[in-house]
Amino acid sequence: MSSISQTDWSETLKFWPRHNEALYKRLETKHSWLETSGDGAPADPLEHEMVLNIGPQHPATHGVLRCVVKLDGETIERSVLDIGYLHRGIEKIAENKTYQEFMPYTDRMDYLQPYANNVAWCLAVEKLAAIEVPERAQWIRMMMSELARISAHLIWMGVGLMDAGAVSVFLWTFQYREDIYAIFDEVAGARLTVSHSRIGGVATDVNETGIGLIKDFTDRFPEAVESWEKLLNRNRIWIDRNVGIGQMSADDVVRMGLTGPNLRGSGVAHDIRRFEPYLKYDEVDFIIPIRTEGDALARYFVRLEEMKESVKIIRQCLEKLKTVKGPVRTDDAKRAYPNKDEVYYSMEGLIHDFMYTDTGVAPPKGAATYHAIEAAKGELGFYLQSDGTGYPWRARMNSPSFTNLQGLEHLLEGAHMGDMVILIGTVDPVLGEADK
């Protein structure tokens, strides 16, 4: 409001250059703070220390993470992380989109497992607006989210091994990720940014081809994991590079607020799928892999086991989908998109489709909710506040990569340069999600 009645523009025009300058200065300080230890005097008169800027274009930083590290020989003495190179203001964007319109944006958050993000967003909105989701849609969502978890863990594994120098593993894991792409392509119509979930259900039902592809995948995948285990679990170099690296006690991880496999690798048995079940996780049988060592190797084993557990869940979902039939979207035109048949062949359907696209679901005024799911990287939560319109008044994201990165600085200090890539790999951040 104030900007419209403003008459003196000189202050506003001066603001941007100053703002830019301040930004650059803040980027610089991290570097110079490390070089001078804060008070401006060189901290290292003998100059056997070196400040090394790693990233944001470094190949091992999994995107655009920037770490400034102070090295003494090969040992990292201090490290400062700098994130924000992929900041898109996604939370602000959410305030200007209807609930359904915003869903494709969540694909671009953790781009390694878009399906789970879609589901997380839709679940939060459904909780806010109290929308019932048909059972079949829930099973489909669960199955596809577990596939997304496998695909995310496949990337973690391939890239982690590639960072350690074993390039071949990356291509082996990517082969299976490719199979998952094919499944998504068949089921959702897109390979990477699936946008398949809808508020109140999913866009389309899974057809026979899709079921066949998924079944085929669950048959072949465990063998592949076994073959990788054969190569890696007794590999002296790989084990030695991981054991005792990035040690975090259970207290540490809880204090730093890490989530997901990083938490479970340190012996904290917390998994939202088990302790606050959403979808149908209380009806399937799976275990939560835990390791108590708290080092990079423990996290490696936890993720490896998680992939196997996901396969188990997917198998149970496939079984359930045989019997659970019915619609895949709630039949309430004020709360979910109507069927396409209805839209094309009835006036009411068309109007509802129109209205839903224009205004969408409008939760009651003042309603607020937080809903979290266990994504591949940890607790992915959305906090939503409604003002009674079709647009969220506030949307906040609790992204696991962001919280997990809080631990990385701590891990890097005292580690060696060669461990750095292993540590970044073991924390497994996706910067699209961390920067939001």
Binding site: M50, L52, H58, P59, A60, L71, E74, L161, M162, D163, A164, G165, A166, V167, S168, L171, W172, Q175, L231, N235, I237, W238, D240, R241, H416, M417, G418, D419, M420, V421
Partner: protein
């Protein structure tokens, strides 16, 4: 032994060209083998089965701009890749490819070989230092530490072979392995520990995976050759491939009977006409290339299977395990020689 100079010149010409061509073949082999290991076809667009891919790569490198960083020392920056290639090629002069087919048949060729591997560390270190980049410097430092650590074990492994042969000449070492039945005279059977030690250290000395810490693509973004472009980078590339091919030749020469055919004495007893003939020479050249090709394949195989060592692991392996084993091995070989002779 005393060949006319023009013969030596001809052999030298042939061998240098052989090494240059073999480097491109190895690049192709590496990419093809890695492709098959990773369930993908590998290069298959340029020429039949992608065989011209290395030449296309070279063409690309030649056409590229030669960039010297502003803060680099231009002279040393240019010197380093040249050193690498020259040293790699020089080592080829010492390898006996067949009986009497060797450029420099010196009495101390083993020593010269060790000296050359020691000098090649300068190429990497100078490249790392002169680029004036932090990543390159770290790569160069790692390389010098690694090479010094592994040179001792390598020298001791070679020493055990020299003890057995009683000579520092590579030709004599090969001839020495002709005893025994069939292939049992090869040093790999007489000195198995030394053989394993030498192969491991050869991986480290050539900076090949899993000992490729100086390059460490993922941590150091290429390490000592981060700041190189165009043909200067191509020279590092060439040197790497020539180096590990030469290393394969040295492994073969020291431990796997060199240019000798398997069961050579038996074959010659069967066909006495072969003795000293050109056919035998051709067969020997073929044999040594095949044997070296096998070890080159092992180099490639290991690179695409194993993760990279960590710096401390590397040092631990070198100083705590390989060096004591190499010392004990040299001692055992010496004692064995006294007892059995």
């Amino acid at each position: 032994m005393n060949l006319a100079w023009y013969w030596t010149a001809l052999i030298a010409f042939l061998i240098v060209n052989f090494l240059l061509v073999s480097a491109s073949v190895l690049v192709y082999a590496e990419r093809k083998v890695s492709g098959y290991m990773q369930n993908r076809p590998g290069p298959n667009r340029v020429g039949p089965f992608g065989f011209l891919q290395p030449f296309a790569d070279v063409l690309k490198l030649v056409m590229k701009e030669n960039i010297v960083p502003a803060m680099a020392n231009p002279f040393v920056h240019s010197l380093a890749p040249m050193m690498m290639v020259v040293i790699a090629m020089t080592a080829g002069a010492l390898i006996p490819f067949a009986h009497n087919v060797v450029i420099a048949d010196m009495d101390v060729s083993v020593l010269v070989l060790l000296a050359l591997t020691s000098i090649s560390v300068y190429g990497v270190t100078l490249a790392g230092w002169s680029s004036n980049s932090k990543y390159s410097l770290l790569g160069g430092l790692r390389s010098s530490a690694q090479m010094i650590s592994y040179e001792l074990s390598m020298g001791l492994a070679v020493l055990s072979v020299v003890l057995i042969a009683g000579s520092l000449s590579l030709t004599d070492i090969v001839v020495d392995q002709s005893g025994g039945w069939g292939i049992l005279g090869w040093n790999v059977f007489r000195n198995p520990l030394g053989c394993i030690l030498f192969i491991v250290t050869a991986f480290a000395e050539t900076n090949r995976a899993p000992f490729d810490l100086p390059e460490a693509e993922q941590e150091l973004v290429g390490g000592y050759h981060t700041e190189y472009s165009g043909m200067k980078f191509g020279m590092f590339f060439l040197a790497e491939y020539v180096n590990f091919f030469i290393a394969s030749f040295v492994i073969v020469t020291l431990f796997f009977g060199g240019y000798m055919l398997p069961f050579e004495s038996l074959i010659i007893a069967q066909f006495p006409g072969l003795e000293g003939s050109l056919t035998l020479m051709a067969l020997q050249i073929g044999t040594v290339i095949l044997k070296a090709g096998f070890f080159a394949y092992v180099f490639i195989w290991v690179r695409w299977t194993l993760p990279r060592f960590k710096y401390q692991q590397l040092m631990t392996l070198g100083w705590k395990y390989l060096l004591p084993i190499a010392l004990v091995n040299a001692l055992l070989v010496a004692v064995g020689l006294i007892i059995f002779s």
